[in-house]
Symmetry: C2
Subunit: 205 residues, 2 copies
């Protein structure tokens, strides 16, 4: 498969949400133009993004909402169940753990790690909170696919190294610092300020 | 100014972070190729993005890190101070309020609104938490530029309508639901699942 950019994948996620919404409203077909309008991009971009993955839609009729939704769901790997470990049981960790959208997408937290003695040994739903120093043992015994990092910047690289040693190949990092992962491991940094910067850009114009 | 896409603005934020980091490490100049490598895109894209805003850099020498950083800071409106109202003092609201990166970027929370009687009347730092039903009064008396929405989906559109009525023109929405704003108001939806979907896409390949 041709190398797919992160921006293409991000747009696929966007199409997926729009299609879920159209399906909920009972819409059966959608044109690339309508999909583009709802996504705030051009129809040429929509057709280009989808062309990487096959032939969708019928000329003049558009795409079947439910078929395209299912296809993108599979492309994004959302037909699988993904297990995750959460590093950091602070307020961001709490918000992420209880975020309903993750579960709906097939992403489940299996372990939570923190260093706060007041939290270690307690549970969120049926998931125990372990001390961060036990993370490597716990993850070797009971591995997961993805690590979500919601701890202060100075310890982020350390827990990422631990996660990678246990075989984790996907890291979602919320710590506002530059971290690195070896080849073959996928890292996504979520910077909460980026969306605000997009607002201040348009508000400044 | 030619219409600038949200993706271009997002890449500008990305360049800005890379330049901040290069400056911290004492790097004086950077080529478009190096900037592209650090950002995971092509150098042609870097040059195209920057060309919307002027002539930066010198052929063969690259860009001055500090000049380009300052220019992008101004383009993104980060030389101004932005005031914000936070709707929702739950765990996500708490994480956003105390997120250091916002303050460093010039974004300040001036008001917090919630419906929980246990929270209303208390303070976070020096910011009072008001009842959501008083939001319109408070915001008319003491307006802000941006509303950050971190409340359950069913009430999101209501508080956005209130915010817009008080003159707010930028909405950062974390509620996982389709909301709308009138023309002339900028809306950014932050979907926390999108970054996970990008991981599952690459992990599935």
């Amino acid at each position: 498969m041709e190398k797919i950019s992160e921006f293409t994948v991000r747009r696929l996620s966007n199409y997926y949400r729009i299609l879920l919404d159209l399906e909920k409203r009972g819409t059966a077909t959608v044109s690339s133009q309508r999909l583009a309008d709802l996504g705030g991009i051009t129809s040429a971009q929509v057709r280009k993004d989808l062309s990487y993955f096959g032939n969708f839609g019928t000329r003049g009729l558009g795409y079947s909402v439910s078929e395209l939704k299912t296809a993108i769901m599979q492309i994004l790997g959302l037909n699988a169940k993904w297990t995750m470990a959460l590093f950091g049981a602070g307020s961001l960790g709490h918000a992420l753990f209880f975020h309903q959208g993750f579960r709906e997408d097939g992403f489940y937290f299996k372990h939570v790690f923190d260093v706060d003695p007041g939290k270690v040994g307690t549970k969120w739903l049926d998931v125990g909170i372990f001390h961060q120093r036990d993370a490597e043992d716990v993850l070797r015994r009971d591995p997961v696919s993805i690590a979500v990092v919601a701890i202060p910047p100075d310890a982020a690289q350390d827990v990422i190294d631990i996660a990678v040693r246990t075989g984790i190949r996907g890291i979602l990092n919320f710590a506002p610092t530059q971290v690195s992962v070896p080849d073959g491991t996928w890292l996504r940094n979520v910077n909460l300020a980026v969306a605000l910067e997009s607002l201040s850009f348009y508000l400044s114009m």
